[in-house]
Symmetry: C2
Subunit: 474 residues, 2 copies
């Protein structure tokens, strides 16, 4: 306990420096999805590796992948204590629409209790909370409570396309008992929550190709089937009037949850009103028989993320584009297989495609959903850590987002993961003016300190996570 | 006749220089719709004014408007001969999608029988055919066959927003008997056509606004009505299954054409096959009871020109955009009023808008359709000019495009217009790799020479054009 106390004190006393380090981290334009930023993304990885070395981690390595590197470091001392993988990602989302940012996305600024910048919350700030917890132990004790291996990737926002191969190739190096990651929001500033389930994700691009060239809509309007029109007509058929996804067979394998689980969700989860407030939405939408919390966690969704086709500039352009495409994102739930969903989508689109055009589907992300048993010892360690770090016991929550690495850790390393989120629902992740609430950055560092301390008391060995979650009030 | 012959010879002998002048003209990035190009557009006007002065026109003036200037010049000598307005536009369409251009759009190049570049056909090449005809007369005779006033504007591609005011303000300066303009395609290389009717145009922007901020489609997918989805659902309701526009009341005032007119169109107009070949479309689409030629001329159309919303970049971005909008373009036909169409559209959208979002309609172009009586003397002069310039009599045609200036000339100056097109259907106007067929550039100059010569024999006075066109085989 003495070691924990001095680590906590160190973290508090050096918090201003931690904020400065976070600002330095945000300054890198590590937009992993856009090849234009490859060099800046690599520079970001280099900075992170150097920082890990500076705080006292060992075997620091930047592993090249086909795209953006994985930053690795470890500290291994105890044969009989658990080994913890710290996972995080240093890549960030694109910044469009850039004109809606009040400040430049990569010039972080502290204003009030927030630090603003792309990646502040997702995931640079949350990743750094763990790093700062390691620093606190190493600077005050010259040791950590458990064995630690850091795995920080640069491709999370593009669906971690090379991570599975990395984990598989280095499965001996990465042998561990449990992984921890922080890449989500808690329910509110003083209401920590421990995520035990996430939705999976399937991203597809649907392209409609019509005539061979762009046409003048004056000269040709009325004679050809505008691909942009066909695209809209197809997209309009993806949902029915009740808000359900209209793809035949889509709901066939969706898991039904027991009343006990839904009652727990209703009691401890966010209300419809809270979710709509966070979304700044006047009205909700979707399957009437489910709450907004359920619709975003235990129910699948399908979102149009963007449409490309025709003229998007200022003013008018009388064009019938030769092709048009839409970026679509499914969020899928337990028992749904992303590859089956892709197949059903392809069949449906094929059936709907009129003879005047051709359609083409390209899938670029397949991630299963994730659930961990609520009585799992690592989840108990997480609960304890939050209770100490935030001074209040966490609620067990589901979130609607996806962290593909969770199922990869399970598949490749056969270990469970625990998710310690330090973000807030209004952090505007993936949107303009992203920010991170600084008091939770410090509480996050403290929580990470407590988590390692709690974990050091468990005897763990690699085992399967309990996929069939039994929820009871903790 | 001697004067015509020497002018024709001059035009042929100096054609290489004319092509060079056209290349110089194309090099100006005169994208009038985009404020970024304001300076280049002004420079283009300056070049044109200088060129008019060099060839011997008088009273050359660059009139400022609220946006892009009007280039004016005249040559007035004969109290008893007709005065002809030469109208053209030096502004061009945007170049997106830029990556589909094989060569840079503003670095014109001659390859085979074509000159390539944005504006080569629409309208710089066709405008210059008239200028080169003036030059041929002035260099060989030191005089023109008729009085001439040049009115070259820089805002045609944005709907000529300041032209009406310009014509109204300068209606004494612009007093004339007839206008001629060349801003369209003939039917084929050796098949000239004389356009006697055009559709009108109404451009509207439809915006759907949902929640106040962009959201993560993982965290919020399923809880809010995605504005991009709503937009698609609205756009999908603009046409019915038969290809008709589904806006209630839309067809109420659409003019019915007599069998005589439709028979003439069927006999001399392009076939469905030809139109689809020009469009590089495998299959046609639209109102079954009309031919493709009819569907693009005497029937209205509604095209989606572009959709703005969500993420359009490389890769994926899990976003539910807070708003989305579509650029729409109606082409309207005789007896339809663009303001009535706008009203009907607004009513329909209002009725369809779900309670989860708000919709906003912005109209930015209202142009009526245009028809001139086929027995009108200026049309006869045009027929003669084509017959001599191309060596073959023209077919009288309708086109689906819009030249808003036609109804403005009628309303403000009370004069008819004749349309001598020199473009080809596959010039790719408004699309990547626009080009102009050089043999028709020369034939166009010759046709303009013949047109002025023919016109010099008519006694004309300002009169209303016959709006109710009686079509009979010429």
């Amino acid at each position: 306990m003495a070691s924990v106390k001095s680590a906590l004190s160190y973290a508090s006393a050096n918090f201003a420096e931690s904020v400065q380090d976070l600002a330095s981290f945000i300054r890198f334009e590590s937009i992993g999805t856009d090849t234009k930023y490859k060099r800046q993304t690599a520079a970001c990885a280099g900075w992170l590796a150097k920082h890990l070395k500076q705080i006292g981690l060992e075997h620091v390595q930047v592993f090249a992948t086909k795209n953006h590197p994985v930053v690795y470091a470890d500290w291994i001392r105890y044969p009989s204590k658990p080994t913890l993988i710290l996972y995080g990602h240093y890549d960030v989302q694109p910044v469009e629409p850039i004109q809606e940012w009040v400040r430049a996305p990569f010039k972080p600024i502290v204003s009030g209790n927030y630090i603003y910048g792309r990646g502040a919350s997702d995931d640079k700030g949350q990743l750094l909370a763990h790093v700062k917890a390691l620093e606190a132990f190493l600077k005050t004790q010259r040791q950590l409570p458990v064995n630690v291996k850091c795995v920080f990737e640069g491709e999370e926002e593009m669906g971690s396309p090379n991570l599975q191969n990395f984990l598989h190739t280095h499965r001996d190096l990465l042998k561990a008992d449990v992984a921890v990651l922080s890449d989500m929001a808690i329910m509110a500033k003083d209401k920590p929550s421990l995520t035990y389930a996430l939705r999976g994700s399937l991203s597809v691009e649907l392209e409609v190709r019509g005539q061979g060239v762009d046409l003048h809509s004056g000269n040709f309007g009325g004679a050809v089937h505008n691909p942009l029109q066909v695209l809209c007509e197809l997209l309009a058929k993806l949902h029915d009037a009740s808000g359900k996804i209209a793809i035949p067979g889509f709901y066939a394998s969706v898991k039904d949850y027991e009343q006990q689980e839904r009652a727990y969700m209703a009691r401890y989860g966010p209300t419809d009103k809270e979710i709509l407030q966070n979304a700044r939405a006047a009205k909700g939408w979707g399957e009437e028989e489910f709450t907004a919390y359920e619709r975003t966690t235990i129910r699948p969704s399908l979102s149009i993320n963007g449409i490309v086709g025709g003229y998007q500039g200022q003013g008018v352009k009388s064009v019938i584009p030769s092709k048009a495409s839409a970026k679509l994102n499914f969020r899928i739930v337990p028992n749904q297989d992303p590859y089956v969903v892709e197949k059903l989508f392809r069949q449906y689109i094929k059936k709907l495609t009129p003879a005047t055009v051709t359609t083409h589907v390209h899938a670029n992300l397949h991630a299963r959903s994730y659930e961990i048993g609520v009585r799992h010892p690592v989840l108990q360690a997480g609960k304890l850590a939050y209770a100490r770090g935030f001074g209040v016991a966490p609620v067990l929550t589901r979130i609607g987002g996806t962290i593909p690495v969770l199922s990869l850790f399970e598949e490749e390393l056969n270990i469970p993961s625990v998710l310690l989120g330090f973000g807030l629902p209004d952090d505007r992740i993936h949107a303009p003016n992203e920010r991170f609430y600084l008091p939770n950055f410090l509480k996050g560092i403290h929580t990470c300190i407590w988590f390692m301390a709690a974990l050091s008391k468990y005897k763990l060995s690699a085992k399967k996570t309990g996929k069939a979650a039994v929820v009871s009030e903790p």
